[in-house]
């Protein structure tokens, strides 16, 4: 098949070097080549947002980015959120407020919300709704996801 290309990136603070076909998505590279299966692929056409990771601190759909485009980038995934046994405030809030049911979309929502709140810790509810509307959840009806992110935002401001 086509020639493979070596890509260097930082994933959750760790340097990684993967050798991939140019057509390999970042999502597949994270899951298959880095063994980080917490990033989920829900549609592979950029609508559902389940595969959202942070690339240089910006939420990105890893199904729409090729791994080779991530050369030199700093990637954060759900596996890097907790500090040992201590959950990230967003993870804790999703747990406390029943912000997940099946949990498949959850890593994408968590990474999206991390990106949103790091960019704007004081985000208002209307703006937050708009930002969260980029991802799909089929179980929760979103109400508790919103509640969770608002609670986490308050906790992170403290």
């Amino acid at each position: 098949m086509s020639d493979k290309i070596a890509v260097s990136l930082t994933v959750n603070g760790e340097s990684r070097r993967v050798t991939v076909e140019p057509r390999r998505t970042l999502g597949d590279a994270l899951r298959e080549d880095c063994g980080l299966t917490g990033t989920h692929l829900g549609c592979e056409h950029g609508v559902c947002g389940a595969c959202t990771v942070l690339v240089d601190d910006a939420p990105v759909r890893s199904c729409l980015m090729f791994a080779v485009q991530a050369e030199g980038a700093r990637i954060r995934t759900v596996e890097g959120l907790a500090d040992g046994d201590t959950l990230h405030p967003l993870q804790q809030a999703f747990w406390d407020h029943h912000g997940l049911q099946c949990g498949f979309c959850t890593p994408g929502f968590l990474m999206l919300a991390v990106g949103i709140l790091e960019g704007n810790p004081d985000i208002g509810e209307a703006e937050l709704r708009e930002a969260l509307s980029s991802n799909l959840c089929r179980c929760t009806g979103y109400q508790n996801i919103l509640k969770s992110v608002l609670a986490a935002a308050a906790a992170m401001r403290r």
Binding site: T37, H45, C48, L87, L100, F104, N135, R138
Partner: protein, 763 residues
């Protein structure tokens, strides 16, 4: 402390929050290869053969199979609601002589890498002679195959003297109503990984969901394996909603391939495949007629409907049509009734169930009809509902119909009581005043309501085994399944109360066919009712056995013992001798276990009300749901936070179904809704605050906990309520007759002149 009734946080959440979940696609096995399914590009045609030259020449090809390679595998049978004559309509695992929908599996490609398998699949060239597809279930039946028509079954549910009801009627109200094709569309696509275990000879399939025991037995039979020749394993499952976990061709094919190729075979569906091959549902057209007296009391209801079944009858048999007809009368008395459902094959994706199967459609039909009765007689629609409600003192209420092999007997309920309570809670009068004021000011806002009866807790049995292990930890083993709804937490809560131990000691094992001999899985809102009852019984037995052992150790009698802080203690002697559970288990030889089976012949019937407030922008014909309220009587709530989560999630699916979601096919039968840009599901931007009132006023006597199911309450009458609200907002009773109410559809309706209600008064 009692755990039942507490909104405890879920036991299952930590791995899901930290990326440690194990969904089907996350699994890898040594030597594993990938299966890619080649699918029919046409809706109906004769499959003459394949040109495999280029595909076989690809260096990555491990194997390519077509129908001939699996012609010995029988088609997939029925899990529920079989009726005589359905067998010829079963789906073969790979198409043989004909293809009958776009997306039907016609060939398989096996390769070491999924990208390469997809490359090779593109090289497989089928020779298909297209035939004219049949797409409309209401047109006269055609031929499924020579000599066999496309009307697979006709379901009739009837009681009472319908002729007399119509003869004595003051007025007759008729409507034609339809619901589009929808589906559950879980965020995780389907997947199956079949792994031959060389040492034991057992085949293991991972990626199972919903009904692992049934699927295990079915695959064994289809493949001619001995009992125990295959085990199914459920990992994390990314949503169910009726469609996920049914036995599909791909599950069977992965197992056959693993056995014949002698290595692990992984199949993961992509979203495009999912939206054109996983079960769809809901596509129904009803012609319904009510005979009423001058006060709006429904003397008789006569309904005929057509169900767009798609290309084959899958595992659900005629479940959807059966439930549609059987549950259509809902919370109303209706002394004479008939519903006739035509199960019609079409050249579209085959259908199964989707959350509240038959009830979402039926509630839309019934509640639209009640609104039409009120409009035509000039009565208040709420008053008409009150007039028709089955009274509290008429419970238990026998409907004189059966469904899913059970007699329909509404066990407990106070429909009017719930309505009164709901109106008080939401401030109905103030809501109405506010909407009237805004309408006066020129806005198109309206309120609409739907009342419904649900069903839950389908039997006939559930088994549970509870084990106290040598370290004092407790394991609950069940044949139920978890599709994300919180089964582990709820069963642990029930077990903790039953045994009297802390929640943190308990873990729940589900969906593993090698851990418990039988199990019915998770569907029909059954797990909390059925499995919960079995947990209660097993816990009581285990507690007795625990005390029998401990009594000997403590030299006392079992009836003088209790459990406090997860230790066995003597009643009224807090400082007396005590034993931890580990010590008792060790004294009993390492572990103590108890088994229990809960059986029932009847379902239990929860009920509720949906109320929507919508705003319509007349220029764009866009409908916005401003507020959504749900009242639901669940009998008894084990974990209110989880019940509310189920209801809100269902309500949002209902809003999607009412306004956005639709599987569209073109005139050639090509599916047009095959991406998330075409099949539109609600995001948070489309969703208002959803206010849920869960009541426990009508516990059921049918199980020891008094519980009814929670899973399908949120979606049931959402379509009905939103349709009524749109009518109200536009001041056009009976305007909405079709779901979803897309902007294009509503725009065309707004161009229609005058009253929308077809109606005939008797002279």
């Amino acid at each position: 402390m009692s755990y039942i009734g507490q909104s405890v946080r879920r036991l299952e959440d930590r791995p899901l929050l930290t990326g440690a979940g194990r969904f089907a696609a996350d699994l890898k096995f040594p030597g594993m290869i990938h299966m890619r399914v080649v699918r029919s590009p046409v809706a109906f045609g004769r499959l003459n053969g394949f040109d495999l030259t280029s595909a076989l020449a690809h260096p990555g090809t491990i194997a390519i199979w077509t129908g001939a390679d699996v012609a010995d595998i029988p088609p997939i049978g029925f899990r529920l609601t079989p009726v005589p004559g359905l067998e010829p309509y079963r789906q073969p695992v790979l198409a043989q002589d004909y293809v009958r929908y776009v997306g039907e599996p016609i060939a398989l490609v096996f390769a070491a890498d999924p990208y390469i398998a997809e490359d090779i699949a593109d090289l497989v060239a089928p020779d298909i002679e297209p035939l004219p597809p049949l797409l409309d279930p209401t047109t006269p039946p055609g031929d499924f195959m020579p000599g066999l028509g496309t009307e697979a079954a006709v379901i009739t549910k009837a009681y009472g003297d319908l002729g007399a009801a119509f003869a004595n009627a003051y007025a007759v109200v008729e409507l034609e109503l339809s619901t589009a094709r929808h589906s559950g569309v879980p965020l995780e696509t389907r997947g199956a990984i079949a792994v031959p275990d060389g040492a034991s000879g057992v085949l293991r399939m991972y990626g199972a969901a919903k009904v692992p025991h049934f699927n295990r037995q079915t695959i064994e039979t289809m493949l001619g394996l001995p009992a125990g020749g295959i085990h199914l394993h459920e990992g994390h499952v990314g949503g169910g909603f009726g469609i996920r976990g049914e036995l599909y061709p791909e599950d069977v094919l992965a197992c056959v391939a693993a056995l014949r190729l002698g290595r692990p075979v992984k199949w993961i569906e992509d979203r495009y495949e999912h939206l054109m091959t996983a079960n769809q549902s809901r596509g129904q057209i009803h012609r319904v007629c009510a005979a009423v007296d001058e006060r709006g009391f429904i003397l008789g209801l006569d309904d005929e409907f057509w169900f767009d079944q798609g290309a084959y009858i899958r595992t659900h048999g005629v479940t959807v049509s059966d439930l549609t007809a059987a549950m259509l009368a809902g919370p109303y008395v209706i002394p004479a009734f008939r519903s006739v459902g035509h199960v019609r094959l079409t050249n579209k994706t085959p259908c199964g169930t989707y959350r509240a199967p038959g009830r979402f459609e039926g509630s839309f039909v019934r509640e639209r009809l009640v609104d039409a009765v009120a409009a035509q007689l000039g009565l208040d629609p709420i008053a008409v509902r009150r007039r028709n409600f089955i009274r509290k003192n008429a419970m238990p209420f026998r409907r004189e119909l059966e469904t899913l092999g059970t007699d329909i007997v509404y066990d407990t309920g106070d429909y009017e009581g719930l309505l009164d309570k709901f109106f008080a809670r939401i401030g109905w009068d103030a809501l109405r005043t506010d909407v009237a004021r805004r309408r006066q000011a020129g806005e198109s806002v309206g309120l609409g309501m739907g009342v419904f009866v649900e069903k839950s807790g389908l039997g006939p049995f559930d088994d549970v085994r509870i084990i106290i292990e040598s370290d004092g930890r407790v394991e609950v083993v069940t044949g139920a399944a978890s599709i994300g709804q919180g089964v582990e937490t709820v069963m642990a809560q029930i077990c903790a109360d039953g045994l009297g131990v802390g929640l943190d000691r308990i873990r729940v094992t589900h969906g593993q066919t090698d851990r418990i001999a039988r199990g019915l899985g998770a569907f029909a809102s059954r797990v909390t009712v059925m499995t919960g009852a079995a947990v209660t019984m097993a816990a009581a037995k285990l507690r007795a056995e625990l005390f029998a052992v401990a009594a000997q150790l403590l030299q006392t009698t079992p009836d003088s013992l209790t459990i406090a802080d997860s230790r066995v203690v003597v009643i009224d002697m807090p400082d007396g001798p005590s034993l931890d559970l580990a010590a008792v288990a060790q004294a009993a030889g390492g572990e103590i276990a108890a088994d229990a089976t809960f059986t029932t012949q009847h379902m239990t019937y929860p009920y509720g009300i949906h109320l929507a407030q919508v705003r319509v922008e007349r220029d764009s014909a866009r409908v916005t749901v401003e507020r959504f309220f749900v009242a639901y009587d669940i009998g008894r709530s084990i974990n209110p936070m989880l019940v509310e989560g189920q209801v809100v999630g269902g309500a949002v699916q209902g809003i999607g179904a009412a306004l956005m979601e639709e599987f569209v096919y073109d005139a050639a039968g090509q599916p047009l809704s095959v991406t998330f840009a075409d099949y539109l599901m609600p995001t948070i931007a489309e969703i208002p605050a959803i206010d849920v009132m869960v009541c426990e006023d009508a516990p059921t006597p049918l199980n020891p906990l008094g519980v009814k199911g929670a899973g399908e309450a949120g979606i049931n009458a959402a379509g009905a309520a939103i349709a009524a609200a749109v009518d109200d907002a536009l001041g056009r009773p009976g305007l909405v007759r079709q779901l979803p109410i897309t902007p294009v559809r509503l725009y065309e309706l707004l161009l229609e002149e005058g009253s929308s209600l077809p109606l005939r008064y008797k002279s």
